[in-house]
């Protein structure tokens, strides 16, 4: 049983379909994860001097609550394996719904569960990237902004944001690639992504070498595209 190139060409349509699904889950996960991560990352430092001056009056307890909420989210997600999160959402969550409500036939599509899992999982890690970059911004720049009389919102959007974002790009690249590869774990809830397609073809023809080599190359192409797009963004930004 030597290396048969025809095995690859025959399985290519199924593998490409799997790769397409992997790509879709990843992109949705990255976009959703960024939104989640920016909110939770800023949430973890809400009301601290990293975002301008500390609030007073009624805002103080509110920011404390936001910090705890964001912290709990990040620690819960970071503290459990993604595969457990996916299984919990797909298998256990409908049971939980059934137990606490009267809804009998509640279920989540495997693909939906996969997308939600990757969004919340990536979001927790991105939150730490956001937090780290924001607290690294020189406090003198915040003071310069504040002393001009701009609002906190303007300070975050025009001063902290652009400076912090530049510093987020390298660790974001890491996280995007990790998220892409993490989609392969959704094999356990039956999502027909690239790894599952490979597994199924392999189970019927036992051509492990050809199939896993092709699968690996397809992952490599997708991660390279991600890495190169981030490099492009990095280059386009002014150097400072």
């Amino acid at each position: 049983m030597g290396f048969e190139f025809s095995v690859i060409t025959e399985s290519l349509p199924a593998l490409l379909a799997g790769a397409k699904l992997t790509w879709i889950i990843t992109i949705l996960g990255i976009v959703g994860g960024m939104i989640c991560g920016i909110l939770a990352g800023l949430g973890r430092i809400a009301g601290t001097d990293a975002l301008g001056e500390e609030p007073h009056g009624i805002f103080k307890p509110i920011t404390v609550a936001i910090r705890y909420l964001s912290g709990t989210y990040v620690e819960t997600i970071r503290g459990t394996p993604i595969i457990v999160q996916a299984m919990f959402l797909y298998f256990a969550f409908p049971m939980l719904v059934k137990a606490v409500t009267d809804i009998e036939r509640f279920r989540i599509e495997a693909l939906t569960a996969a997308v939600i899992t990757i969004i919340f999982n990536a979001g927790a890690y991105i939150a730490e990237i956001v937090r780290g970059s924001v607290i690294s911004v020189n406090k003198g720049l915040l003071e310069a902004g504040m002393s001009l009389g701009i609002s906190r919102f303007q300070l975050i959007v025009h001063v902290i944001g652009p400076i912090a974002f530049r510093r987020m790009i390298p660790p974001l690249g890491n996280q995007f690639i990790i998220s892409l590869k993490d989609t392969s774990l959704f094999i356990v809830i039956g999502v027909g992504e690239l790894t599952r397609q490979g597994q199924e073809i392999m189970a019927s023809n036992f051509r492990a070498l050809e199939i896993w080599l092709t699968v690996a190359i397809m992952y490599l192409i997708m991660t390279t595209v991600l890495a190169m797009s981030l490099r492009q963004i990095e280059r386009k930004m002014k150097i400072f």
Binding site: E53, E143, A144, L148, G149, Q154, H158, I163, M237, K238
Partner: protein, 246 residues
């Protein structure tokens, strides 16, 4: 002339340490006040309290009719009228010189972009940096950066400018260009200025009043030439001796 800044019995503590003790100070519109004193004497804290970068611990602060602490929610109003120039320049590193200066009028004063840019160009040429408008801060020398920072503070047309050791981070040959710009602002704009500095020449030439601080208190104040000529306290005599040697 009315007082634009008033501090009444102001104290400021950081944790257990009190760094300003019962400060009483009134500054008139158009006055140039120079604050000197050894390091750790509370001079930076004093001016940082004026634009609420530090919140006073007790006492009362009145800046252009806004009262602190009662009207704590209006600190932005104070900052619109009180600009600040920092020792470390603190220019926004992702903006060009022109964008740095236009930022304040555009965002804080809600001006449209072309008008804000006009103001910024005008100010940049006033500080002698017209041809550097498209440079990023990282491409400018320390003296040039500080001149851009002064233009940035002026751009929101504040009533008061605070200077926190504006020349202390500069190479000696660049100190003159920054001081010249500050002198022009005092002369042409009739700007109220509070300047923390070690530049005694500047104090004598431009200052209306000299304040000597030590250990969180105002120890002596008066006309700069007189205070410098006839220091009353031993501490000021000692301090002036040290400053003159450099």
């Amino acid at each position: 002339m009315s007082n634009i800044i008033e501090l009444k019995n102001v104290c400021k503590s950081f944790g257990e340490t009190e760094v300003l003790h019962n400060i009483d100070l009134s500054i008139q519109e158009g006055e140039v006040v120079v604050v000197i004193g050894p390091s750790g004497s509370g001079k930076s804290t004093l001016i940082r309290c004026i634009n609420c970068l530090e919140l006073i611990s007790s006492g009362e602060l009145i800046v252009d009719t806004v009262r602190i602490p009662e009207e704590r929610g209006r600190t932005r109003q104070i900052r619109l009228e009180v600009g600040m120039v920092f020792q470390q320049f603190n220019l926004f590193p992702h903006m060009t010189a022109l964008e740095n200066v236009a930022f304040g009028p555009c965002k804080a004063r809600k001006m449209n972009k072309s008008k804000a840019t006009d103001i910024a160009r005008n100010l940049l040429s006033k500080v002698g940096l017209a041809e550097f408008e498209n440079k990023l801060p990282g491409q400018l020398s320390g003296g040039q950066q500080q001149r851009v920072a002064i233009a940035r503070a002026l751009a929101v047309s504040p009533k008061v400018l605070l200077f926190d050791e504006p020349t202390s981070a500069l190479d000696p040959e660049m100190i003159g260009e920054v001081l010249d710009v500050m002198k022009n602002i005092a002369k042409d704009h009739g700007m109220t200025m509070v300047v923390v500095t070690h530049e005694m020449g500047f104090a004598a030439q431009v200052g209306d009043r000299l304040i000597f601080m030590d250990d969180g208190r105002i120890v002596e104040e008066g006309k700069p030439s007189e205070v410098m000529k006839n220091p009353q306290s031993e501490r000021l005599k000692d301090f002036l001796g040290h400053v003159k040697h450099h």
